[in-house]
Symmetry: D2
Subunit: 277 residues, 4 copies
């Protein structure tokens, strides 16, 4: 059976030797191994794909004994994660994820779709996923977020995906989902933070537009970047045509970032990601 | 003989018909024709490559008579333009342009290289181009710019290229060279305006870096963008390695933008470029 | 109302003047105009987006009178075209087109999906499109193609799209659909013609893979190329992982090529396309 | 001092543990470590950047004792390698390497440039590198290759770089330089093997062109690929313009591949490369 060992700890000499020694003693095979040392803070990251019968408790205890006290050690399997999607009106990111999910290509179960508009209800229904319509009109931000949080709480998802959810979330909403809330921003961040990035891009006359998938933190569009991709544009593109062209990038980048996260290929350190892909 | 006709005027019905009518009456062949109408301001742009014997004065007079009074009409040939390069310490953009120039690939004559440091003197000398060393130390910005302007004035270049010139130019310097001063900025603008963009990019943890060639105007890094290109990076790139990787992009983007400008393929309208490539 | 004028004719002096003269006389506004002269054969191509009330018969008669006898002149509108999709087992291209169709993003009506396997029946059904299951097993190629042709004949589609249809079509099948049959090939043609291109790519150890959308002609994978796109791969990609990564490119390239064709932006000349995008 | 440990051996359980155990016992710090297992042949590859005082003989002896008998173990330093360049008439790849060399950016000493034409003599001379003009006219291929080999033998270079050397080399020439002879091919291999790839690309009407840096083996353009890169083209590009546009890609890809090789980041296994970049 396949396992994943994920380790993040202060760097010191001999870490790989000590870790692989424990694995060797357990008779485990390493299918793939990636390490990285972040030099600025001297932090060691390691992701190991293992095969063999794992005595998890013993293994973790021995690793803890072998590694610095500050080490964060996690043994994961590759069971599908639970996710909930938040959307507004645009369908392309939602469609992309629903279709991949329907064909078993997403290592996740989409538990529900939540939206502040009703337009994507029919699409969601085609794929047999519960759709929660929670309009924001006539509600305070606090009240609306409370309703969304209540729905999320009823599913206890591993990750929440903002698949073109066009409302800004408060710090209170974001904090409990630290490193578990993934957004797709329709610009090449940090260019064009905030609203209407294609309008901003058009006004600036850029020759390339892009999309950024990132973890959400308390500062708007400032969270750790997971994936980015770009496409060329020129003077013939209106803001509207940039938006159209950008959709293909957005959905592919979001799906790519989500795959990296679901496959446990992403470490977060301060405001950055370390990605073993 | 080949000619270029460049027209920019308020859009109205029948412009192409009227212009090509004048050309047809002159017995001129159209090798290539490009038009664009900027809808926001209703401005018509046309670039026509012509072959045949041109009676320039008559042609221009007839075009002026046929077109709206506000039309800007220019008949250009493809003679090499004169350019002067401003550099600091990094060689890669200078090298790229010197080599292309040496092999006749730049539709331009590099008249001189001006620098606030001496390190690129030897390289410039290898290619037989005059090098003016104008140190900025111990001088006020005004005094230093006056010296640079004096050297430029002695060459009367058609275009001035900032080939990694690492000093910010005053509005007084820039204004007389409106749309004739080309800079390479080592980021994907408008991300990372100003100093040390690779350090900024590293700090933000972006997954793509880039370079932007643009006309310089009075606002730092805000001028019309001519060309942009990007490359992927990841968590293993230090700011220094991003800078190294970025150099290949910078020099290619600058050379590309300069070629577009020298071949008269770039119109500037407000803060944007229309590029017929 | 918007119209499209599409002209292909032997090049000669004054063509643009003569064409725009007819348009001007009809009081038509040119929204966008593109021309190209293929120098090898001296053929002129022009695509004009027009707005205004068109007296189509008069306009075409006057254009015919003004242009060389060999000119091909077509006045099109932007009504949705009819298309039929042929698929086998892979869903990603079909999903992409069904979703775009469902949200009105495809300037076409998907009349039906035809497949030699049954697996995509459920997906197609979700979107309310007729699905024709025509198994090829136990039938000769001729017999099977005859069945497919019969279904196509019942719909009289403007274009037939091979959205990962994994059977080679005979010349007899292809000929009646000249320039109306669009295929997505899962390699960067002309690399890896024929079966299992990802296996071929893996065996060759390439560092980039891609996809090609092209018109189908009688020679396998030799028809005019409409669009191509690529992505980087490395030694860690198995042939299977290349295939997975390639799917995102395939569907986007096919959707892009189909959009170009449906928007009448593609001319075919010999074995190449001229694309005004 | 920095060292590189390069290991290639049959895969078995515990390899990383055993190797890092030897390194740990020697008190060596691992700066960076990369491993890969080629599953088809079950071969393990590892590249380790080390810092510390290395007792090379003991270290290698202990590694040999710890690893399977078939293991290939190499301890390298990062001293500059010696290289000789072979060129014909085109300057862009040569210029790129000469400039990088002049500014200490190439981890190599360019010992000499050899050419079957004289045109690049002046450029080479500017940078103070010996230029050997060995015309092929009036000589048999054998005789000409013998002359080139004699010059190479006088320099004993670590690597020979075909920087747009436009002659096909015999198997006899190639064999002694197995995995040490690097070529830049001006197409996206395996598309357009052999002569005039841009003419082939133009004739096929491709929408993307590229360049491939690869090790040379006895079969024309079939050796292990090190790096590839592409750029978009369209119907307006003549074969000549494709060639012009392609040059920027060629020189960057060759420089990139050479850097990977000089930094010992490339393993060759059968007809493929494993690249730890």
């Amino acid at each position: 059976m396949a396992h994943l060992l994920l380790i993040q700890c202060p760097d010191e000499r001999g870490l790989i030797y000590k870790i692989t020694g424990v694995l060797y003693a357990h008779g485990l095979n390493i299918l793939r191994n990636d390490e990285f040392v972040e030099r600025a803070d001297n932090v060691f990251f390691m992701r190991t794909e293992l095969v063999g019968d794992v005595a998890a408790d013993t293994l973790l205890a021995q690793l803890r004994a072998a590694l610095p006290a500050a080490a964060r050690i996690r043994l994961a399997d590759n069971h599908p994660k639970n996710i909930v999607l938040l959307v507004t009106k645009e369908h392309h990111c939602l469609s992309e994820l629903l279709v991949r999910h329907a064909f078993g290509e997403l290592n996740a179960r989409i538990q529900a779709v939540v939206s502040n508009h009703e337009v994507l209800s029919e699409l969601t229904g085609k794929f047999g996923i519960p759709f929660h319509y929670l309009p924001h009109e006539g509600r305070s931000r606090e009240a609306h977020e409370a309703e969304v949080l209540a729905v999320l709480a009823s599913y206890t998802p591993d990750f929440v995906v903002l698949a073109k959810y066009m409302r800004i979330l408060s710090a209170e909403f974001v904090q409990p989902y630290a490193n578990r809330l993934i957004n797709i921003h329709h610009s090449f961040l940090p260019a064009f933070v905030g609203a209407s990035p294609y309008t901003q891009a058009y006004a600036r006359g850029v020759k390339i537009i892009g999309a950024t998938a990132h973890f959400v933190n308390e500062q708007l569009d400032q969270g750790p970047i997971i994936a980015q991709r770009v496409i060329p544009v020129d003077h013939t593109h209106s803001a509207h045509e940039m938006a159209q062209a950008g959709r293909d990038v957005e959905k592919i980048v979001l799906a790519r970032a989500l795959k990296l996260v679901l496959d446990e290929q992403v470490f977060v350190h301060r405001n950055k990601t370390i990605i073993f892909d």
